[in-house]
Symmetry: C2
Subunit: 296 residues, 2 copies
């Protein structure tokens, strides 16, 4: 099977799991559950979920053992998007090609839908022994790792520093902090969690962690490049250093060429880890190339 | 020791535990941690925490065994207050006699501080085996109960129905749903959690659950009465049925006298449960009277 087909398969599994795990729209309060499902089942690449399942497979487990875990990760991701889009935050009207949650359900409901998804994610994690046959010790460790990854010193911390940096010139160190926390930590937790569900040996878990750090960085750099190149395309002009240097992005801090080189280097490291993990990790290797390709 | 002194003791313990469990204001991002601590360490009755510890003691355990659990409950309570006060929600400027979180730190930070407290609460719960020597099985059960109590079919669900009912006449059934979910479920989880940490026997846990249902109801009715009587006091007029019938409150739906009688009846049931639990539960009995007294 080629990797796109495998990707599609895993994405379908995650969609199905989310549709089951999230309360139905017929359950009181209907509007809240509709809002939660609107944003969570509204498409998206499911990259974090797919990474979790692939890491489980990559260390010798079965991808579906990490399915409920992967769904919890997507609930967490979905809550961050809903809250990030709020008028008080990024004030975005569209997400994944559709109106944002607060544009449809209003600001109060969007805050509460995000809160409920965050809470439901932890409820799902605490039920992993029931849903996926995990040991209580492992489920507990996953909750600790995810609470840290998504907490004030993780994802939310990155979002805060990003907010506070708006409109300011930031240095490379701050840029790295923002992205490691804001996107990297959840990638790391997704991959490490999947690997642990697959009963990773310590050296396998190390390889997955290294993969995760580099995958997250490559993802963010490529995202930044796409933003900058996309903006320039829209304006019908070429991208010069001066124009992009004021944004808190990798091309802004390092320049476009060096940023591209950094991303390629990260993907290279991801490949090495996949090679170390062996044939089970072929899909992890493919996924790393997928990130780079988004820029082509 | 009289019950006020005991209350003060437990409140001090909870304050100390929260001060330790919440990241310090010197930890990056400082502003976020300052905002989290501002609202969580900002006083308050600590009723939920005290109930958790008292339930633990009431079934024969030691109150301090439930201390970290009680702190997690207060983090959850604090997050709900911060988000409830947001401009998009109740738009409140003051809370516990001080400016609300978003009035000090801005709306974006208030959303994120709430999110971070919710996340930190689950991180604390997952570390209860480490903090309080709980078994992993028990800690996991507590997380499931709290995720349900605080989720879309619990606390957040009550908040949503309350929001959707604003400005409308609601019936007794809707009123009960709102209050059971919005305040009752967290009281129930606090008390049941404490009792389970104290290794409650099944009949003890039943008694604590009955206590919790009635405590929550008495609390809410008294809260509503205070609102109505307080408003009338402010306006310098007596409270008539017509004036209070349009609010989603117990005096509004049942009238002031009947509401007072209902609250007293609930406290009576709480007393009976405390008597069943025996001498260890004397403080639980005192606490139930405390709720009624607020109305005097």
């Amino acid at each position: 099977m080629n990797w796109q087909a495998r990707m599609g398969e895993l994405v379908d599994l995650v969609e199905g799991e989310l549709a089951i795990r999230l309360p139905a729209e017929t359950v009181v309060p209907e509007k809240l559950h509709e809002a939660m499902r609107y944003s969570t089942l509204g498409g998206g690449k499911r990259l974090r979920a797919v990474l979790a399942m692939s890491a489980c497979e990559g260390v010798g487990g079965s991808a579906t053992d990490a399915l409920s875990y992967a769904a919890a990760i997507e609930m967490l991701h979905s809550y961050t998007l809903i809250h990030d889009d709020l008028p008080a935050m990024d004030d975005d009207d569209f997400r994944r090609g559709r109106p944002t949650n607060h544009r449809i359900y209003g600001e109060a409901m969007a805050v509460l839908a995000g809160d409920a998804l965050l809470t439901e994610a932890f409820g799902t994690l605490a039920r992993l022994p029931e849903y996926s046959g995990l040991s209580q010790a492992l489920a507990m460790r996953l909750i600790v790792e995810l609470a840290d990854a998504c907490g004030s010193r993780g994802l939310i911390g990155g979002q805060v520093i990003d907010l506070l940096s708006e409109g300011r010139l930031i240095d490379a160190q701050t840029l790295e902090y923002i992205h490691k926390r804001k996107t990297g930590d959840l990638f790391l937790a997704a991959l490490r969690g999947g690997a642990q569900i697959g009963n990773a040996e310590p050296d396998q878990l190390d390889a997955v962690s290294t993969y995760a750090h580099n995958f997250g960085l490559a993802f963010q750099i490529t995202d930044d490049i796409l933003d900058v190149v996309g903006d320039a395309d829209k304006l019908g002009k070429s991208v010069g250093m001066d124009e992009i240097h004021e944004k808190a992005t990798y091309p802004g801090v390092y320049g476009l060429e060096r940023a591209r080189h950094m991303a390629a280097e990260c993907v290279n490291v991801c490949q090495q880890q996949a090679v170390f993990l062996g044939t089970n990790a072929q899909f992890l290797a493919d996924l790393a190339f997928f990130v780079l390709e988004r820029d082509m």
